[in-house]
Symmetry: C2
Subunit: 454 residues, 2 copies
Amino acid sequence: MKTKKIILPDGEMPTRWYNVVADMPTRPLPMLNPATKEPVTKELMSRIFVDELVDQELSEDRWIEIPERVQEIYKIWRCTPLVRATELEKALDLPKGIKIYYKNESTSPAGSHKPNSAVAQAYYAAKQGLKRITTETGGGQWGSALSMASAMFGLDLRVYMVKVSYQQKPYRGLMMNTWGADVFPSPSDTTEAGRAALARDPDDGGSLGTAVSEAVEMVMTHPDARYCLGSVLNHVVLHQTVIGEEALRQFEIAGDYPDVVIGCFGGGSNFGGIAYPFLRENLVNGRKTRLIAAEPTSCPKLTRGKFEYDFGDLAGFTPLIPMFTLGHEFHPADIHAGGLRYHGAGMTASQLLRDGLFEAVDIDQVESLAAGVLFAKTEGIIPAPESTHAIYAAIVEAQRAQEAGEEKTIVFNLSGHGVIDLYAYEQYLAGALKNTVLSDAEIAKTIDTLEKLV
Amino acid sequence: MKTKKIILPDGEMPTRWYNVVADMPTRPLPMLNPATKEPVTKELMSRIFVDELVDQELSEDRWIEIPERVQEIYKIWRCTPLVRATELEKALDLPKGIKIYYKNESTSPAGSHKPNSAVAQAYYAAKQGLKRITTETGGGQWGSALSMASAMFGLDLRVYMVKVSYQQKPYRGLMMNTWGADVFPSPSDTTEAGRAALARDPDDGGSLGTAVSEAVEMVMTHPDARYCLGSVLNHVVLHQTVIGEEALRQFEIAGDYPDVVIGCFGGGSNFGGIAYPFLRENLVNGRKTRLIAAEPTSCPKLTRGKFEYDFGDLAGFTPLIPMFTLGHEFHPADIHAGGLRYHGAGMTASQLLRDGLFEAVDIDQVESLAAGVLFAKTEGIIPAPESTHAIYAAIVEAQRAQEAGEEKTIVFNLSGHGVIDLYAYEQYLAGALKNTVLSDAEIAKTIDTLEKLV
């Protein structure tokens, strides 16, 4: 019988994270201090972030050692399976030469890829002697992961969760509480930024931009606390490269290699996590793998945004970040893929897209959830709404190859399961979900504000 | 760095299920037709169950081949990890010679061990040319698993779910719907048995006994349908032995062997699944592993029940089953471990307990959930309320060994995750959960009815 999946034994797991900056043809522009328009200093960043994470953020080293303690915890669930989607392939009636694989990050205790960075960040925070940290979360995957990691390292955690997700997904809050974290729906009345948002609109369902503002403000007003970010910045993305590094070795064992690598795209850590190690193979070893980021049509910073300096949050507390953005005032529709509702793309991804080193596609939520149901009924796993974007993109790639009569090996990152996001499926099955069609004028409205920033 | 976990590669997975009946010192008594008091015939059973499952139920063969198609689907998530609970050990401050392992069945797409039998049952149903099946579910783990398996084999599925669980766990119903199943809270008004229960008490929160009655009645009134049971009967238990067979090989690779094997106990499939292969080693190869079934104090059929012929359901539709039981009219308290709320123990487990071949302990829900929270904060995984009983029992065994200054290797089956059962943790954290203390008189009330049956 043929092999369905490959899992690396504990002893063969990656011991280093990959930092794509070392191999980028164009290095990312520096983040700027909004007050001075000068590159941000390490000192300024260290007021917000854990010291060692700041070092990683500014590092141009190709490899960063994974601390032994982090490796130990990774082994609870890693290496995650690289699975051949044979059941999905059958349902699509694909010819033999077209193969779909998925890297199953849903088997982590928090149900997603997010613990890869959460465990690392909590480890470094505890190592620095910190007692409390704070964060934001959109769909809840990051907040859950950091809650778990904080419990493991004895840290107090406060989570600002985008209110619309908090309401759609009551189990997310309970999950974080079970691990011992405090959760506040954002906008909340615990910060100036939250109160300002509520003053503008008492029914504001929140956004990642607002939640980031609240979490950063909490840190700025509590000198003993630091902020742990779930995506966007490069230190987060590099922790996630453990996914792609494992996948490279798993493909080697499978005797196969992907022509196409796909990840959904919110801030870029899930996409970079699976794609950057394959990008290195493209840049350094002349491979020609296509890398595709799948974003929601309702939040299309890669496909319709502008490369510009912008704030990472709504209130403008963060440094100015060079990125593809829709403008930090862009308010995405309340789609179920909460983790993809972010106005900007991470720095490394933005520069790489500018240089044409990966592709981006935008996908409507009705179509992506339909792909999610097909995946659930074939491979059994109910995917996170975020991940369904990658599944849809993989199906499109497979069907195009079939039409063109080409052979193709496709892999996508199944970034998480959706069993705490079932309200999305309930609405989909009831035919109650709508797609979001954004006019050029709507997008221009917030993008045009960027010109004033730098 | 030491090995944290062991996973068998696809090519080394078990290809046969183990049937404990072949090695039992005393064979189980036959099930009886309640009308004639004669052993049930294959013909009668085949009206309710899928033909090949009836053959397995009556089989005394030691090994039953796992169909290749079932093996293929198992490989989506199996082999499940055998994990050394190093983080939990540290929190308990155990000496080096006391080791706790867990077999992590929570990584299946349905989040529990239940797909091991669900996939097999759906496979055989489809092979027989059936188009629809029905079942009951308590906590929702079995209903979810069979929903997934039914989707994979194109079967229509109707699930009767214990009402109190249906209400406590709205996501369970949504999960089954996403896979395409129809779910009815039981008692429902779709069957005579359900209507009778509602007539007795319109607020009846249901029980597995009632739900089984409804599912069996539905099959009796629909000649094209068959009933798929999630535990109790031996064909279900033997499908679950893939857990213990994997664990045996994993311990061989680990260079270790358990002194104690623990599973929580509802109908007996999860316990038998991990324990029976180790029981074989005791019986055939002279090993001395202690096997411990952990049941809830509120439903103590093993520790306080009576070995007697009894119905498997409340209405008395099933054959008479020789088992440890509290009486089929016993109505367990509405504890959160819905999968353990069943009045009787499976036939093989009952006979084995009678012969002193395993031990049983009863555990209160407040203590078991406390163990669940400790496990979540150390190993990261939020366990199903059912599984927390096994965790608690494992901790007790470890601490006793520590007090006695003994070395000990303990393994428990982590039968599922609890992220769809978070209401239990919410109540626990709020201090709102109570234990159930049953008087002897309460238990005698329903046990005493058994004397009239045979």
